[in-house]
């Protein structure tokens, strides 16, 4: 009896601490997710009751040129920006990790873009930088190259956003730096005695031992790149233009839900986004068995 009473008491105290979280989990995550799944099978504009349409929203997406385009734009953005960003982060981390003096200062400088990068202010600045009479073109003019308005060209607009993403390599860089610190110096000393050069040391010691961290950074950056919104919204003025060339998936979702009030269609889009992220993350983890080196 007493044991039972104690167990009950123990649970009551713990669940009291968990109350805010559980209320949030149910009210702001679980119920909305169920509702969102239900809406995805309906036509719903918030003013009239939802109408059940089955899988029509999902079927419609694959015939929606704009949707197909937004998928392409988003994949292009993720698959170009994330590898470039991680390569940059790793190169800078390597340069900084060799016992240089002033590491803290350099690390801070390289992190500043990541600190500011997500802000509206920087997105606005980017619009100026790559505009017709922007800073980039004036830089190019010094070398006698005449630039265009990079923001208003459908061929180049997305790349200005990719550059903005790569510019913010600070967070993965800091994680790489922490990982590099964990690699025992003795390994390099042993390699040196065996006559291994810098390149061989990098590919035989540094890179293999760093692969768990590459995996972590890769997963985190892929997940967040899929959800990028602010830069595309600000730089294109909310349109995803020119000619939908910066229409990120999340931006199209926003337009469908909150300017056209097609809540059903937008909910279906959200679920496919979740599916895409889940599948891609799973694929990365599956492939990691082949390339990630775990120390025993």
């Amino acid at each position: 009896m007493i044991a039972l009473k104690n167990a009950w008491r123990r649970n009551a105290v713990a669940y009291m601490f968990l109350t805010p979280w559980i209320v949030g989990l149910i009210g702001l995550s679980a119920i909305p997710m169920v509702a969102s799944l239900y809406f995805s099978f309906t036509n719903y504009d918030m003013f009239t009751d939802p109408q059940w349409v089955g899988l029509a929203n999902y079927a419609q997406m694959f015939q929606d040129q704009k949707w197909l385009n937004s998928v392409e734009v988003t994949f292009k953005y993720v698959f170009i920006s994330v590898p470039l960003q991680l390569t940059f982060a790793l190169c800078v981390a390597l340069a900084l990790s060799k016992g240089l003096k002033g590491l803290r200062f350099y690390r801070a400088i390289y992190y500043v873009p990541s600190l500011f990068g997500g802000s509206v202010a920087v997105a606005l600045l980017w619009r100026q930088l790559f505009g017709g009479d922007g800073l980039v073109n004036r830089g190019l003019a010094v070398f006698g190259i005449e630039g265009t308005n990079w923001i208003s060209q459908p061929d180049t607009a997305l790349y200005t956003l990719i550059i903005l993403a790569v510019w913010q390599f600070g967070a993965p860089m800091i994680i790489f730096l922490a990982g590099l610190k964990q690699i025992p110096i003795e390994l390099y000393e042993a390699a040196k005695i065996d006559g291994a050069g810098k390149f061989k040391q990098f590919f035989k010691i540094t890179l293999p031992l760093l692969t768990p961290i590459v995996l972590f950074n890769l997963v985190m950056q892929v997940i967040s790149a899929f959800q990028a919104f602010t830069p595309a919204f600000i730089i294109s003025g909310g349109s995803g233009g020119p000619l939908d060339s910066t229409l990120f998936y999340t931006l199209y979702l926003y337009q469908k839900a909150f300017t056209q009030f097609q809540m059903g269609y937008a909910s279906a889009m959200a679920w496919l986004l979740l599916a895409a992220i889940a599948i891609l993350t799973a694929l990365i983890f599956l492939s990691s068995k082949k390339w990630v080196h775990y120390q025993e």
Partner: protein, 308 residues
């Protein structure tokens, strides 16, 4: 091979460091530093400057006259002026940037309070208490970390709209009081697990209950994790645009982020000077926090892998 490296190889690295320090306390020997590498330093500084140049240019331009920004090639302003700041501060349709900053400040403060209390309570339970379904709930918490918010935002919007909470700060702040930011729970659980259990055992013998234990023992010891939480809540909320755009359409409630966007739409691109001035101002709070709490930011990123 330089002389200060020899003892390390003889004694082994763990003993070598304190030994070196006692041998030569003035110079802080770092075993891997070789001769100063000026080329590496120069390269790192040059790349850093190129990276920061747009930001520096924006700050410099904010002190230039509007005609000078695009015409002269000089980096520093020829005629230093505060006109852009004065003009920009007046804001949009009679609402000044002072109001936008105040609104952002209120939202950030509420979010910080919410995250610190709600997340630390949940974290204490996960890190230190024993209860039914603990493993399952912890798994669920980790899963919510990975969920894109798009699968919940539409029903949330409909719900907040139904409750008539659009154009209030409630949709932006209430979720933090319900510990929806799993990342901070995770961060604090990691931290609290590292606090030695002996302290609690001693307190328990003295008849200390779980609530007092949380409030008087765990919370004070978790201050570093709480500071990290506060800093990241600050940065993320300050930079947040999506939800502020979604829930605030009354200009008197606009935050700095939404206000800046409104500002550029209403002024057009003719007054870049004022826009740069307000953009620069909007980044100052982030910069100040970064300067003073850099250590916590670095720790937070390495502890959990933050988006940045």
């Amino acid at each position: 091979m330089e002389p200060n490296k020899i003892p390390e190889e003889e004694v082994g690295p763990s003993v070598a460091k304190p030994l070196l320090k006692t041998l030569d306390p003035v110079k802080n020997h770092k075993p891997r530093v070789k001769k100063p590498r000026y080329l590496t330093h120069a390269l790192i500084i040059a790349i850093g400057l190129i990276m920061l140049y747009p930001l520096l240019w924006m700050v410099m331009s904010s002190f230039k006259e509007n005609t000078e920004i695009f015409q002269s090639g000089s980096f520093f302003p020829k005629n230093f002026t505060l006109e852009n700041y004065i003009q920009g501060w007046t804001g949009v349709s009679g609402v000044t940037f002072g109001r936008f900053f105040l609104n952002s400040g209120i939202i950030v403060t509420l979010c910080i309070i919410g995250n610190v209390f709600a997340c630390s309570m949940a974290a204490y339970a996960f890190a230190r208490l024993d209860f039914a379904f603990k493993k399952v709930l912890f798994m669920i918490m980790l899963i919510t970390l990975m969920l894109p918010f798009h699968v919940t935002v539409i029903p949330q919007y409909i719900m907040f709209n139904y409750l008539d909470w659009i154009n209030t700060f409630i949709p932006l702040t209430l979720p933090k009081f319900l510990a929806t930011e799993g990342f901070f729970i995770f961060l604090m659980v990691q931290f609290m697990r590292s606090i030695p259990r002996e302290l609690e055992e001693a307190a328990q013998i003295d008849g200390c209950g779980k609530i007092r234990m949380y409030w008087q023992l765990i919370m004070p010891l978790s201050v570093p994790a709480l500071i990290t939480t506060m800093i990241f809540t600050f940065i993320w909320t300050w930079n947040d645009f999506f939800s502020q755009l979604l829930y605030l359409s009354n200009i008197k409630l606009y935050t700095v982020a939404v206000g800046l966007r409104m500002f550029v739409d209403s002024m057009g691109e003719s007054s870049w000077g004022a826009l740069f001035a307000m953009s620069a101002l909007s980044l100052i709070p982030l910069f100040v926090v970064f300067i003073f709490f850099q250590r916590y930011i670095i720790e937070g990123i390495t502890a959990g892998g933050v988006k940045g």
